[in-house]
Subunit: 493 residues, 2 copies
C-alpha cells in the first residue's frame, strides 16, 4: 500500500489510470491487476523455476537475516564527521568541524581518484587506507609487521570470506574441497560452502566447556572427513558468533599447529576483535600467535583473517566496509585474487573510508580524542554490562542455561524444550527451536534466531539473541523471555 | 616504500627494529626481510596454488580494470549535499543547505534502520528507495507500471547481473546452461560465466552496420549452441559497452520476440540509459517495449534489467549503487533471490541513497532544480560533443575506422595492424591488439583496453577508449593516438 501511495505521490504519467487517486488499498489492488495483464492460467511454463534453477543456490541456507537492526551504539560522531567531509568536500571550509577530522578527510580524499568517494578505487582498495590498516594491525599485534600489499579491502567481511573460499574450492568426487567450520557457526559459512558446492566439515564447540574449541574434536572431524573429501580449509570464528567465546592463546597455538600438521588453509574470522567483555579474556590475533610460534609456522601456514566496520564499538554495518589480511599467499594466487576482485570493480569507497576511520581513530593530543575515548569506553562498558546482565538473567530461568558471553554481541542460551512441545513442532513440520522462536515472536513480539540455523548438537536447542538494545529495554526483553519460557514449560509439561 | 614510510609514520610498537627510521628504501627492504622470516627454499608446498585452486576462477578473464578513473563529470553538488546530510544528520540544522536537499535526506534517513546510513538495511534494499526506483521507471516508460516488489537494490549493476546469473545456471553436460552474450561484450559477462562454469554462447554485433544487433545472428548462435548446451539466457547491453550503439525500438521488439520464441530469460543491461548522444537515437527500455507488445509477451517473457549510479550524468561509481527490476520472475524464485542476497546482508546503504538521488532528481519548483538542470545539460551536452569529436578525429586517421558513438561512454575503433606488427606481437606472445596498446602506453602514456578483452571477429582488431576526459585533454589524447598510429603503420609497413 505504501508502494501504491508512492506511485500516486509521484504521478505515474499518462498511462496511469486516474482511479489511482482513490483509497490506498484499492489503488494497490489495481496496481497488481495492471501488472498481471493476463490470468495466471494462460501463462507458459517459466524458464526459471525451483526445478530449473542452480541447485547449489537452492541448497543455500541463511538463518540470520531479518528486520533486526544491528547497531552498536552511539559512537558515531567522529565517523559521521569525517564521512560528511569526504562526501561533500565544501564542508572542509566550515568552522564547525574539528581540525583532526578535516585532516583525516583530506588525506582520504587525496588518495581517492578525482579526490572523490564517487570514483572507482583500485580493486584491492585505496592505497593509503590499506597502509592505515597495516599500521593498525602492527600496533594491535605489538609490532609484528603487516604489509599493505597483503591487505585487501572488501565489501564487509562476508565478501572477503566468500571470495577467498571461492578461490580455494576445487576438485571432484572424493577430492572435492572440504571446509571445516565450527558448529554452532555463523551461517555465512554454510551458505557459501553450499553455493560453491564444497563439502562442509563440522567440528563441534564444547558447550559444557564454555564453547571452547578442542583440538581433539578438530582431529576427529578431519579424520572422518578424509573418507569422502579433501579437507583443505579450517574456519575459526574468534570471538565466536553466535557462541561468544574468546579463544585462549594456548588454544590458538594448538589450532595453528593442527593446521600446519594437517596442511589446512586457515580462515580467521576476527570481526569481533574489539568486543571482548570478560575480564579474564583477551583477544589474540591468529596472525600474531602465528608469528610468535617461529619461522616454521610463520613462513608456512597460509592464513586469511577478516575484520569489518560492522562490529567493534562503531558498528557501521550499512557502509559495508571490511578488510582481509593474507599471510603466505602464493604470489600467483595474489594475482588471481586481484583479478577476481576486479570483476566487481571495487569495494564501496565510502565503506573503505569508514574502515579507515575504524583503524585510524583519534589519538591523544588531537581535538576529537577526548570525546572519542569517552564514547568508546561508554559503548564498550555498556556492552560488557549487558553481556553480564544477559548471562545472569538467563541463568535464573529454569530450563535455560547460558554460557558466559566473553565477547561478540550475542547470547546463545541452551533451552529445554519439553517432549510435548517437540511433538507439537513436528506436527507443524518445524524444528523444535523454530517452533519455540515462532511462539516467542507471536506472543511477545521478540525476534530471536533458532539455534538450528547455526547448527547444534542433535537433541539440544538454542536461540541467538543480540545484546545491542539499551540496558532498560534489554531488561524488559529478558523478563518477557523469562515469562514466556516458564509459561511454555507449563503449557507443554 | 610508501608503505614502509607509513609504518614509520605511525610507529610500530616495541617489536619494530629501530633501524626502520632510516631511509625509506632500506626500511622497505628490511620490512620484506622481516616478513620473509626464512629463505624461500625451506618453504613447504603451499595448499593454495595455481594448480590446486578453483579452476573456474582461474579461467576468469577480466580486461578492463586499471588505473583509469571513470568519472562522468561535475554534476555532483546535489548528490554530495544530500549524501553529506544523510551521513552527518547534525547538518540538517545548517542554513547552508537547500531545503529540498534536506527534505530528501530526511526522507531517506527516516526509512533507514536507526535513521542512519550506518545500519544494515533489508537485503532487498530500503523500501522507500525501491518505491522511488519504481516511480522513476514508471515515469521513464511513459506510465507502464513498476512494482517496488520487483526492485532489488544491488552493489552496482555488476552485483545484480552476477546474482541473477548465479541463480540461472544449472545442469550438467549437454544440459549445462548456455548464456548468450554479444561480441564485443563487457567482460563482466564472460568472467561470471566462467566463474559459474556456464557455457558462453557468442553472438556477433554487426560492425559494418554500426554494431547493430541482428536477430538472424542470434538465431545462428542459438542453433549452434543447442548441440552442446542448453541456451537459457540472452544478455543484451543497450546502449552498448564497449560498442556504443543504441538499439532501435524495432530491434528490441525482434529480440523480445526471439526470446519468447526460444524461451530465453532476458538480461537487459541498461546502465547507459541516460547516455544517448546521437540525435537520431532514443533509449527504449526492454520493459516498456515488452509491455507494449501485448499480454502474450508481457505476461510470459522473463526479464531482469539493470541500472547503476556509476554512469548517466552523475557517474558516482565509488558508491556502488544499482538496482535490478525483474519481470515475470516466479514467486518462489523471488524467495530464492532474497535468500541469496541475504547472505551478503545488504547492499551498501550509502550506495542505495546515491541510487535514490539518481532516480529522484530535483523537480521544477524546488530550490536546487535550476542548478541541477543546468549541470545535467552541461554534462550530457559535453559528452555528446566529445562523442562526435572522437568519432570524427578517429575517422581522419588512415587505418582507423570508428562507428558513430550513439551512446554510452566509449569509442571502440577498429584498427588496422600490419602483418609485420602481427608477427612482432606473436614473437612477444601477445595478441596483436595487446601489443599495439602496450606500445601506445609505453610511447604516449595513454592507457586504452585492447579489443581482445571484449571479443572481436577473428582477424579484426580494436581498442576501447573512454570519452570522459575534458574536451581539450581529449583532443590532445586523440592527436597523440593519431601520431602514434601513423608512426606504428610506418614502422611495421
Amino acid at each position: 500500500m505504501q508502494r501504491a501511495a508512492a506511485l500516486v505521490r509521484r504521478g505515474c504519467g499518462p498511462r496511469t489510470p486516474s482511479s489511482w487517486g482513490r483509497s490506498q488499498s484499492s489503488a494497490a489492488a489495481e496496481a497488481s491487476a495492471v501488472l498481471k495483464v493476463r490470468p495466471e492460467r494462460s501463462r507458459r511454463e517459466r524458464i526459471l523455476t525451483l526445478e530449473s534453477m542452480n541447485p547449489q543456490v537452492k541448497a543455500v541456507e541463511y538463518a540470520v537475516r531479518g528486520p533486526i537492526v544491528l547497531k552498536a551504539g552511539e559512537i558515531e560522531l567522529e565517523l559521521q564527521r569525517v564521512m560528511a567531509l569526504c562526501t561533500y568536500p565544501n564542508l572542509l571550509d566550515s568552522p564547525s568541524f574539528p581540525e583532526d577530522a578535516k585532516k583525516r578527510a583530506r588525506r582520504i580524499l587525496q588518495a581517492c581518484g578525482g579526490n572523490s568517494l564517487g570514483s572507482y578505487s583500485a580493486s584491492q582498495g585505496v592505497n593509503c587506507i590499506r597502509e592505515d590498516v597495516a599500521a593498525y594491525i602492527t600496533r594491535r599485534d605489538g609490532g609484528v609487521p603487516a604489509d599493505p600489499d597483503n591487505i585487501y579491502l572488501t565489501t564487509g567481511a562476508s565478501d572477503g570470506i566468500s571470495t577467498i573460499l571461492k578461490i580455494l574450492v576445487s576438485g571432484g568426487g572424493k577430492s572435492r574441497t572440504g571446509v571445516m567450520i565450527p558448529i554452532p557457526q555463523y551461517p555465512l559459512y554454510s551458505a557459501v560452502i553450499s553455493e560453491l558446492d564444497a563439502i562442509q566439515v563440522n567440528y563441534y564447540l564444547d558447550e559444557e566447556n564454555c564453547w571452547a574449541l578442542n583440538v581433539n574434536e578438530l582431529r576427529r572431524a578431519v579424520q572422518e572427513a578424509k573418507d569422502h573429501c579433501d579437507p583443505k580449509v579450517l574456519c575459526i570464528i574468534n570471538p565466536g558468533n553466535p557462541t561468544g567465546q574468546v579463544q585462549s592463546r594456548k588454544c590458538i597455538e594448538d589450532v595453528i599447529h593442527f593446521a600446519w600438521e594437517e596442511k589446512l588453509f586457515l580462515l580467521a574470522d576476527e570481526v569481533y576483535q574489539d568486543n571482548v567483555y570478560s575480564p579474564d579474556c583477551r583477544f589474540h590475533s591468529f596472525k600474531k600467535v602465528l608469528y610468535e610460534m617461529g619461522p616454521e609456522y610463520s613462513s608456512n601456514v597460509e592464513l586469511a583473517s577478516f575484520h569489518s566496520t560492522s562490529k567493534g564499538y562503531m558498528g557501521e554495518c550499512g557502509y559495508r566496509g571490511g578488510y582481509m589480511e593474507v599471510i603466505n599467499l602464493h604470489p600467483e594466487i595474489k594475482g588471481q585474487l586481484v583479478k577476481l576482485l576486479s570483476v566487481r570493480l571495487c569495494p564501496p569507497v565510502s565503506g573503505q573510508a569508514a574502515m579507515d576511520i575504524v583503524v585510524n581513530p583519534p589519538v591523544a593530543g588531537e581535538e576529537s580524542f577526548e570525546q572519542f575515548s569517552r564514547e568508546k569506553e561508554s559503548v564498550l562498558g555498556n556492552l560488557a554490562k549487558k553481556a553480564k546482565l544477559t548471562e545472569d538473567l538467563f541463568n535464573q530461568v529454569p530450563g535455560i542455561h547460558c554460557n558466559p558471553l566473553q565477547g561478540a554481541m550475542y547470547a546463545f542460551p541452551r533451552i529445554f524444550i519439553p517432549a510435548k512441545a517437540v511433538e507439537a513442532a513436528q506436527a507443524h513440520q518445524m524444528a523444535p527451536d523454530m517452533f519455540y522462536c515462532m511462539k516467542l515472536l507471536e506472543e511477545t513480539g521478540i525476534c530471536v534466531v533458532p539455534g538450528s540455523g547455526f547448527g547444534q548438537r542433535e537433541g539440544t536447542y538454542h536461540f541467538r539473541m543480540t545484546i545491542l538494545p539499551p540496558v532498560e529495554k534489554l531488561k524488559t526483553v529478558l523478563q518477557k523471555v523469562k515469562d514466556f519460557h516458564i509459561n511454555f514449560l507449563e503449557k507443554y509439561a
